[in-house]
């Protein structure tokens, strides 16, 4: 399997990454290199092996349901580009 240039552009668009034509071609080559590796792995017979969602065969840790975080808004907002009335301000987005 390999990616078309159009698919590369679509992925870049979804990831909000701007690609020049030259970048797109180079990225396509790199990604297809990764697909070659995947293809090699696909050749391995995995019949009867349960797929894993994580490389470590462990269970996730759980926390007790309790409030443990203090309000640190002022510290967090000190590094924000723009705030008002406790809100983070961002360029207007309406969907």
């Amino acid at each position: 399997m390999s990616l078309s240039l159009e698919q590369v552009r679509r992925v870049a668009q979804l990831a909000r990454i701007e690609l020049t034509d030259a970048d797109a071609a180079a990225t396509q080559a790199k990604l297809n290199g990764i697909f070659d590796l995947i293809e090699q792995m696909q050749a391995v017979d995995t019949t009867g092996i349960e797929p894993m969602s994580h490389p470590q065969d462990l269970a996730t840790r759980l926390r007790t349901d309790a409030v443990s975080e203090a309000d640190r808004r002022d510290a967090f907002q000190r590094i924000a580009p723009q705030t008002e009335n406790g809100l983070y301000l961002v360029p207007k987005v309406i969907e």
């Binding site: 996730t60 840790r61 975080e69 640190r72 809100l87 983070y88 987005v93």
Partner: protein
């Protein structure tokens, strides 16, 4: 052609906010109404290097739900990243579950319609999965910018997905109501729709009966049962009109505008999100042991379905009464407490009082049953006095009103104190009733004559006169007997 030439197919996705103290992946508070961003921790605002740690309380609530609908609680489930860009989603992805959700399958029985046309139906569930909520974008004027409040970011949600089993807006509303009652019943969600704790998305399509499924459109974010009904009704008619005019339905996401009552397109399939789900490498699989499931099972309250069956089998109530009384946990709890105090033999009059006079009075006062000024013990005391003929039903209404107004004090004998204080005790002494009847007969010769001429109405008038003369306290059955006897002889 009309609506009856089309079959409506509806599936619902419901987001129930789980009532945990802290967020699903951080220790920030989930309390509603805090100042903006006061409850947004480093994890919630996605500072670099932070890691999510799953909240046991959120998982436990998902297990409760799974058991309550007879679903499979997955021994192993997986969290995935759902990728999209929006300013109120600071990580650039929402942690959700995709391929392996925590709750799989299950079903819920709904009752649709009222009276003789009412029917029951089973709606199957596809799945329910855990996920985090996003923050809130405020688009009021901040110098042409949007304001972002991340307090809600990371609030635990259970997204409950049904099969496309519903065939009308009435069924969809009945299903949503049944789920709403259930999540409150098992205490996993406060069900507050104004605060967004219970939100519905409806997938709607129409088809020729028996034909292949039509293309669906998804109505997003309906936060009341009325809007759910209105939005589906509008959408169904729009789809039918479009198809009958020779048009085609395009898959799309639409929003309902409560002001115009219309749905309008938010985005078409072409610019639909491609979420590129993949397992979140920050989270290991969620493993739920059989022991944990067994413990949660043991802690579950009696469920509405089981309680309803018990009310019918053990208390002899009708299916309708049992359904009404188990419509909410509060209603069921009130009724159960009343029956416990009055005795199971009086279950039917208890049911009548709870669903009748009490519900009506609460409705008039715009109160919830949990806030009823008349307690179950007081109501039981009243019902017992009707049953043992101390008072008639009519007088009981007077006593009920007095209880409502706080007379008689607390406890089961409040009704007794009111009956004593106001001298409302029913007269069952037949000698006393006979005396009143004689007086009434003597004073109303015209009615007596009419009755003897065959006018049954005249008899009722005489009964009314006797009751009036006794100030409502004569036992009506005895009055009837004595009157008949005297008139017949």
């Amino acid at each position: 052609m009309s609506r009856s030439d089309w079959e409506v197919v509806i599936g619902l996705e419901i987001h129930a906010q789980l009532n945990t103290a802290s967020k699903i992946f951080s220790g920030a508070s989930t309390a509603f109404g805090a100042e903006p961003n006061r409850q947004a921790s480093a994890v919630d605002i996605a500072l670099p290097g932070v890691l999510p740690v799953l909240n046991r309380g959120a998982v436990e609530r998902a297990i409760r739900f799974g058991l309550a609908i007879g679903a499979t609680v997955a021994p192993k489930s997986v969290f995935a990243r759902k990728n999209y860009f929006y300013p109120d989603l600071p990580k650039g992805y929402q942690i959700s579950q995709f391929e392996l959700p925590v709750v799989q399958g299950g079903a819920i029985t709904i009752r649709v319609g009222e009276g003789e046309k009412a029917y029951e139906k089973t709606v199957n569930l596809t799945r329910a999965h855990l996920e985090e909520d996003a923050g809130k974008s405020l688009h009021e004027d901040f110098h042409g910018m949007s304001g972002i409040d991340l307090n809600r970011a990371g609030t635990p949600l259970l997204e409950i997905v049904s099969e496309p089993d519903m065939r009308s807006s009435a069924e969809a509303v009945a299903y949503a109501r049944a789920l709403h009652a259930l999540v409150r019943w098992i205490d996993i969600c406060d069900g507050n729709m104004q605060e967004g704790s219970f939100r519905c998305d409806a997938n709607v399509s129409v088809r020729r009966p028996g034909g292949p499924l039509g293309t669906r459109r998804e109505i997003k974010n309906l936060n009341s049962f009325r809007f759910l009904q209105q939005a589906i009704d509008y959408e169904v008619q729009w789809q039918i009109d479009t198809l009958e005019d020779g048009g085609r339905i395009q898959q799309a996401t639409v929003l309902f505008d409560p002001d115009s009552g219309e749905t309008r397109m938010m985005r078409s399939k072409e610019d639909a999100h491609d979420y590129r789900y993949f397992p979140d490498p920050d989270l290991l699989p969620l493993v739920i042991s059989p022991e944990w499931i067994a413990r949660v099972q043991g802690e579950l309250p009696e469920l509405p379905g089981a309680m309803k069956a018990r009310f019918v089998d053990e208390l002899g109530l009708s299916a309708y009464d049992a359904t009404t009384l188990t419509a909410s946990k509060e209603m069921a709890g009130y009724f159960q407490a009343t029956v416990d105090a009055a005795g199971a033999a009086l279950a039917k009059p208890c049911a009548n009082w709870v669903m009748g006079d009490l519900a009506g009075r609460l409705n008039k006062a715009e109160l919830e049953i949990a806030d009823s000024p008349v307690t179950p013990a007081q109501l039981a005391g009243l019902v017992r006095r009707i049953a043992d003929n101390t008072i008639s039903n009519n007088i009981a209404r007077k006593v009920f009103e007095a209880l409502w107004n706080g007379e008689g004090g607390a406890g089961a004998d409040a009704a007794d104190r009111i009956i004593d204080a106001q001298g409302l005790k029913q007269v069952t002494d037949s000698g006393a009733i006979e005396a009143i009847v004689d007086e009434v007969l003597a004073a109303n010769p015209k009615s007596v004559e009419e009755f003897r001429a065959g006018k049954e109405k005249a008899f009722n008038a005489l009964v009314g006169q006797v009751m009036k003369a006794s100030r409502g306290k004569a036992n009506p059955a005895q009055v009837n007997d004595i009157l008949r006897h005297k008139l017949g002889s």
